[in-house]
């Protein structure tokens, strides 16, 4: 899952990025409000961690601008402002969650996963398509109760498809999901990952929509 981390504190940003990466997130990090707004409007991330006291543009303003632009991306506000009034205002402006510093990075990750899940209308942590089960927290995929080994990118690709099950995701959308900034994307990378996934999963879990992209069947169709 690709998320945007907006934090102007270098040490904190660096530490959070490192830990969230360890927990399986693709983390893009920006350090000021203007950059955050630009990236979030571009819509390449599944969720964002947003600090409020930002240079150039306050986090609250970024949030308001984002919601005005109709962006529904889940936003977790991470802040040192712990007054109830601040929290209420943050939630009213459009934050989906409000976390006070300092935060346990594992909890932050769990909250992000929950936000992403809910933003896709899924109440359970585990995603199930037929006999394939994906556990985003444990980063484990099982087929018929047997764990399958997937690479990082294969996991992220399957996760993205399963989260959006029933919907067709274009190659570009999938690339945005599994590659962060500065990561070289080869032209046929998605095809290669899909190929590997199909081999490991067996059966027609991932369907190709020619000229458009890929999809996994919707939960209603075969789960």
């Amino acid at each position: 899952m690709r998320i945007l981390l907006v934090e102007d504190d270098l040490l904190l940003g660096d530490g959070l990025r490192a830990r969230l990466r360890q927990l399986g997130f693709l983390v893009d990090w920006v350090q000021d409000g203007e950059a955050a707004e630009r990236e979030l409007i571009a819509g390449q991330h599944a969720a964002a961690v947003l600090d409020l006291g930002l240079p150039r543009k306050d986090g609250m303003d970024v949030l308001a601008a984002l919601r005005r632009a109709g962006m529904t991306i889940p936003i977790l506000v991470l802040t040192a402002r712990d007054a109830v009034a601040d929290r209420i205002r943050g939630l009213d402006v459009g934050a989906d969650d409000f976390v006070i510093k300092p935060v346990d990075a594992d909890e932050l990750a769990a909250r992000l996963r929950a936000l992403i899940r809910r933003s896709h209308g899924r109440p359970q942590e585990r995603l199930v398509i037929g006999n394939v089960v994906l556990d985003p927290a444990a980063r484990v995929v099982e087929r018929g109760g047997v764990q399958i080994d997937l690479s990082l990118r294969e996991f992220d690709l399957l996760h993205a498809l399963m989260l959006n099950c029933g919907r067709v995701l274009s190659r570009e959308q999938l690339e945005a999901h599994i590659y962060g900034w500065g990561q070289e994307v080869e032209s046929n990378a998605i095809e290669v990952h899909v190929h590997h996934l199909r081999r490991k999963l067996g059966g027609p879990v991932i369907q190709t929509v020619r000229g458009v992209g890929y999809r996994v069947p919707g939960a209603g169709s075969s789960a």
């Binding site: 040490l11 904190l12 490192a18 594992d106």
Partner: protein, 459 residues
């Protein structure tokens, strides 16, 4: 003395007013006594003399008559206390019943006429002796002194008894008047005693006398100042606690990253960052303490100091930091830049400015500290060739903990608050602009001219 003089205002007032009233009362009684006695003596002496004169005149008319009654009748209950004798040629010719047969006064010893106090049969008498017109006649009129005393006592009794009754009433009235007059004081004391320590609203004492107004105003002024101080303190504590969250969050995130790191390089990086986070938190705490000390306004000595010396020593201290960052740093100052201020605070101010310039300028930047002294005062300029600050950031500089954009350093945002506070304490004006000479940020602090000539220690 304390055990004689009570500590309470009411006690003092009561004691002194009661004491004075009683003293005045006794003085009045004494005065009445002496005055009445004097008047009485005068009056009764005049009566004695008058009586003697009457006897002399009467005797002069009656000399030729033979039937002389030796004893005159006593006609009044006071009569036994009054006596007279009439002698003709040494012969007692007339006397009152209670008069002795011998002259009441030894006629050789006393010239006539005269008032004499003598003891007759052990009782003191007041006697007037007069000579008749024909020399050989002597008249003595006497009166017992104790009769005078009893008249005097009667006069005193009649004047003193209303006063004697009035005195306790007066004492009670004084007690009531004083107690009610000082009741606002007691109300104030009770109001203050009942107060919770965090209630700092002005004290209102209904019916407080005008004498209490200055004290009440001073008290309320003090309460207002304490309230402002406490609000400031609360805000500061909240700000500080709030601002420590971010470094702690960073330390935590880095430590978690170090724990979860798969390869040694990543762990190394995270651990180093953890230490850096600790250093930053420590620096923040130190700055918070500095700021809190400045804000609490603890002893600040105002003396004439040479800012050039201060600037040079601070730059010497910070030069290694700049050199590590391959920055060039220099001081451009005349010999004498006298400023009135606190030596320690001034060092803190210059250090914060220079430290900021070093930390927020990139590698290889130039930093210049210059001092200009003129008749209007001394101006300290810190210029750097760094990226400079956006106009909006310059406006937000005053806010505590605000950090400018794109700062690659671990500033706390408190340095500027410290600079502002110290400048304000020294009545100096602060200006941040884009540096004309170096292109980065330029901070100018203008100190007012100090009246004392440089080199002389101020007070």
């Amino acid at each position: 003395m304390t055990w004689i003089f009570p500590r309470s205002l009411r006690g003092r007032l009561l004691l002194s007013v009661w004491g004075l009233t009683t003293a005045v009362w006794f003085a009045a009684a004494m005065l009445t006594w002496f005055d009445a006695r004097h008047e009485l003596d005068e009056l009764l002496d005049a009566h004695l003399a008058q009586a003697a004169a009457l006897l002399v005149v009467q005797q002069a008319r009656e000399t030729d008559e033979d039937d002389r009654a030796i004893d005159a009748p006593s006609l009044h209950r006071y009569a036994p206390k009054v006596a007279f004798q009439v002698f003709q040629d040494g012969q007692l010719i007339q006397r009152s019943a209670n008069a002795p047969s011998k002259p009441m006064i030894d006629r050789e010893a006393r010239p006539h006429p005269a008032f004499v106090t003598v003891a007759i049969e052990g009782i003191p008498w007041r006697v007037f002796a007069a000579k008749g017109m024909r020399g050989a006649m002597e008249v003595y009129v006497g009166e017992r002194l104790d009769s005078r005393e009893s008249i005097l006592w009667a006069i005193l009794r009649s004047t003193m008894w209303p006063m004697t009754i009035a005195l306790p009433l007066l004492v009670a009235a004084i007690w009531w008047a004083i107690t009610s007059a000082i009741s606002p004081l007691r109300n104030l004391g009770q109001a203050l005693a009942r107060r919770q320590p965090d209630v700092l609203e002005p004290v209102v004492v209904p019916g407080a006398p005008s004498e209490m107004t200055p004290a009440l105003e001073a008290l309320n002024g003090l309460l207002t100042r304490i309230e402002a101080l406490m609000a400031n303190e609360r805000r500061f504590t909240a700000d500080a606690a709030h601002e420590l969250r971010t470094p702690i969050a960073a330390i935590r995130a880095q430590a978690e990253a170090a724990l979860g790191a798969a390869d040694p390089g990543e762990r190394q990086h995270a651990l180093k960052a953890t230490l850096q986070g600790c250093d930053r938190a420590a620096r923040l705490v130190a700055q918070l303490l500095t700021l809190s000390r400045i804000e609490s306004g603890t002893a600040m000595s105002m003396e004439v100091i040479n800012l050039a010396v201060v600037a040079k020593s601070v730059v010497a201290e910070l030069a290694p930091l700049a050199l590590r960052r391959e920055q060039s740093i220099g001081v451009d100052a005349g010999a004498d830049c006298a400023v009135r201020g606190d030596q320690t605070l001034m060092s803190v101010l210059v250090r914060n400015l220079v430290d900021n310039a070093i930390r927020y300028s990139p590698r290889g930047a130039s930093i210049n500290i210059s001092l200009a002294s003129g008749p209007s005062g001394t101006t300290l300029l810190v210029d750097d060739s760094g990226p400079g600050m956006a106009e909006t950031d310059i406006q937000r500089l005053g806010e505590r903990f605000f950090r400018g954009a794109g700062r690659a350093e671990d500033g706390s945002g408190l340095g500027w608050s410290i600079v502002q506070r110290i400048a304000a304490l020294h009545h100096a004006t602060l200006q941040v602009t884009r540096s004309g000479s170096l292109g980065g940020t330029s901070v100018a602090i203008a100190f007012p001219a100090c009246i004392d000539s440089p080199g002389r220690q101020g007070t």
